[in-house]
Assembly symmetry: C2
Homo-oligomer: 470 residues x 2
């Protein structure tokens, strides 16, 4: 059967667009962080019509399919399972459509287009797609994951900047919902079903995105905070006055900060030889307003100074104004520095912002009591309620192997976040096979039931994807 | 059967909460602009549990139900049909929950709470819900309608500011999706199904809303534009630099502007005795930044001056800086002034912003050719791609009665907007019985099919609402 399908796909897509050689398959079979499976073959259609033909052929043959964009996701949703019977539907060649409408302030793109290519084309118009990520994903993958990024505080996530989609259903039917309108209140907003659902309801082949003017100036500072509560009060105070230009509020615990400087001599430690305070906030302002109209660094310095004069300001230990690239470099080296310290168990948690300090304290107390050999090296997007509560330990210091500790720690920390603090086990990475068992543990039955009804309606044979949302 | 249901509901809700006297029913039977029916009775539950009990009782009795918030909608979706067999489920007493979390920058509210009551409570925290409307709707109604408002350009619509919902299904099952998180990427975002679907998939009894800091300063100007294209170029130019503080870009045609001054001597006509230009743009900036940091009126004046110096600026005829309340008063008197001129056929259309001028010209050409007795008095939220392309004529001047002309003109204008200009027949008002036949004419079958599947899943007996989305 596989041979017949290969023939059909080659006749539909051309010989080069169907890969079957095991060596060629490797890079499609393994995910960025999690996920490693075996593919039956890789199909690389170059047009929406070819995506539709590919899906119709697989559907007809009863072969399961996993859509894959740039394969940069962090939950294993874009790689095949271990069975070797799935087709990887790579969208990497579906990247030709790129129409910028500067007056509508939108871009119409193919699903396989890379974020970097989109931003390159937008630059000529002084525009950008404001979802700012470390990786270079495809637009379709960003939609299927509903990525957030570091400027969510100002711009929102992908969902907030998505006007329209083109989706191919499992049986090859094309849904054209390429809405270019900001206002279109005409019943169910169909595109919402495909945002953040890992491609299991349909393959995103096109999108209409709202884009924004590129800021022309920035101001950044690091602010030492004696406690998590102090960081939250700083957030509230700054946001009140600076909301229009407030683009990021990242927080790094002392435990996450110290390894950065230990492993990177080139990065300047603003605290020098002194012990850093409990938390360091990275505050970023950015604006489309010219410096002649608004002195952004001056404004940030003045607002931070004013906060220091308040009662809550007593818990602020330090203020360092700095260049954006220098301060962000510290933030961006956290993950990798922690890996040099030992075994890292990464988390992607969110809680209501007002409960972030209390949640972190509760997690630390739990660890100190039951896992004293574990260091809590938390950092994250506190402005958005997100925290990477990453845990670090050494095998030598642990009483049990990681294979036992990891699932146990995941369950303890997720239970705390989801059940006790109204939080989420996946703030921005999505579900995917990596989070499948947490999805099943924490998702209300009502949501699973509606997801199941949609899955049965849109993909009755269940051929799409490896994540189960029912 | 009706008597038995009344008894059951009185025992569940209390005698006062069930109205059956025809005089008491009147105000629940008639909509704000469209919709007039007859109710079997009105049930006024005061808690989510009572809403659930009411729906379970009606569901069990096979009686249809229409949910009603403040009954301020403009498409007749909150009033019963003419049959006299429907229960009006009024949420007006479900308005007690109102919890503001200033650090999370959210408000948790009951579905029946009025927008004015929410904003009153938020004021103490320097916060507001940024959906700014002429009416005073309930929050549940705003969600079911996905209202936009005059500051959509900066803040988005209700969907953009909604974090969580509590919904009661037709059979009385309560769906608790009161998410307080900005980031929670865990599969299908269930709340999206209830946004803009007129309450036919469930009754919204609670919500978690994202709220924003109240601006501390504003700057407004009227800008005369010789053409619609000139207005669009102005929009693009201002947006490029001013995006962070750009809150509104309204446009009023000369035909819509002149009646305002003709019927309101108290409003100052900036053009005096001169003929106004083809379009007048109302530009508003607002900011949370203090005047000491940003001179907003100075900035607006400087930017408008700079635009006048460009080639596109040659089509700018006038610039009037003015007080916000004076300039908005002109805009807010348009609808009512037109009604004094004759028969008004109101539209709520959107098209891609870049096609707004071309669409309006095409509509004018169509009218001049086939309906020369009709005046096109268009105005609207051009910054959001919205236009109220209102048509005015006098019975004396028309060759045929309005009852013939209205459906014909609707179809001609909607066909033009939807088919030729990728637009929408309902930018912000929703579907409802008033737009039912346009929904059926213009909605892709794929959308209707998914909506039908959701309806069968969530309300298999089909008891909720008067709008059909399948």
């Amino acid at each position: 059967m596989s041979g017949a399908l290969v023939q059909v796909l080659r006749s539909l897509l051309g010989d080069d667009a169907v890969l079957t050689d095991p060596e060629d398959l490797v890079r499609y079979e393994e995910g960025w962080r999690y996920g490693k499976g075996r593919a039956l073959l890789v199909a690389r259609p170059g047009t929406t019509a070819q995506v539709a033909a590919t899906l119709a052929a697989c559907h007809g043959a009863g072969v399961r399919v996993v859509p894959q964009g740039a394969n940069t996701g962090l939950v294993g949703a874009s790689t095949p399972d271990a069975g070797g019977g799935m087709v990887v539907l790579s969208l990497e060649r579906l990247n030709r459509r790129l129409e910028v409408d500067p007056i509508n302030r939108t871009a119409k793109v193919d699903g396989g287009l890379l974020l970097s290519a989109l931003n390159e084309a937008l630059k000529a118009h002084g525009l950008m797609f404001p979802i700012d990520l470390g990786a270079d994903p495809s637009i379709g993958g960003m939609i299927a994951t509903n990525t957030g990024g570091t400027r969510l505080l100002k711009y929102g996530d992908v969902r907030h900047n998505l006007l329209g989609v083109e989706v191919v259903q499992a049986d090859g039917t094309v849904l054209d919902a390429m809405n270019q309108l900001r206002k279109n209140n005409t019943g169910l907003d169909l595109k919402q079903l495909f945002v953040g659902t890992s491609g299991v309801l349909g393959v995103i082949t096109g999108a209409v995105l709202q884009v924004v003017p590129v800021p022309v100036q920035q101001a950044t500072a690091l602010v030492g905070c004696a406690s998590g509560e102090a960081a939250l009060l700083l957030l509230r105070s700054l946001e009140r006055d600076l909301a229009d230009v407030f683009t990021a509020f990242e927080v790094i615990s002392a435990q996450a900060l110290k390894p950065v400087f230990a492993h990177h001599e080139g990065l300047r430690n603003p605290y020098g030889a002194a012990e850093p305070p409990a938390y360091t906030a990275l505050v970023e302002l950015a604006s489309t307003l010219p410096a002649a109209a608004l002195d952004l660094p001056g404004l940030l310095e003045e607002r931070l100074g004013a906060f220091l004069e308040t009662e809550a300001g007593e818990a602020i230990t330090d203020v360092f104004m700095g260049r954006a690239e220098d301060l962000w470099a510290i933030r961006h080296h956290v993950s990798e520095s922690l890996r040099q310290e030992g075994k890292v168990l990464a988390f992607d948690i969110s809680v209501p912002r007002s409960r972030m300090a209390a949640f972190t304290e509760a997690a630390r107390a739990l660890l100190a009591s039951d896992y004293p050999f574990v260091r809590c090296c938390d950092f994250g997007h506190w402005g958005d309620g997100g925290t990477h509560l990453n845990l670090v330990w050494t095998e030598a210091g642990a009483p049990r192997p990681a294979s036992e500790l990891v699932p146990e720690l995941q369950q303890r920390i997720y239970d705390l976040a989801v059940k006790d603090f109204d939080g989420s086990y996946s703030a921005e990475h999505g579900v995917g096979p990596h989070n499948q068992r947490f999805y099943e543990a924490y998702t209300p039955l009502s949501v699973r039931s509606v997801s199941g009804a949609l899955k049965r309606h849109l993909d009755p044979e269940g051929i799409l994807g490896t994540t189960r949302l029912d």
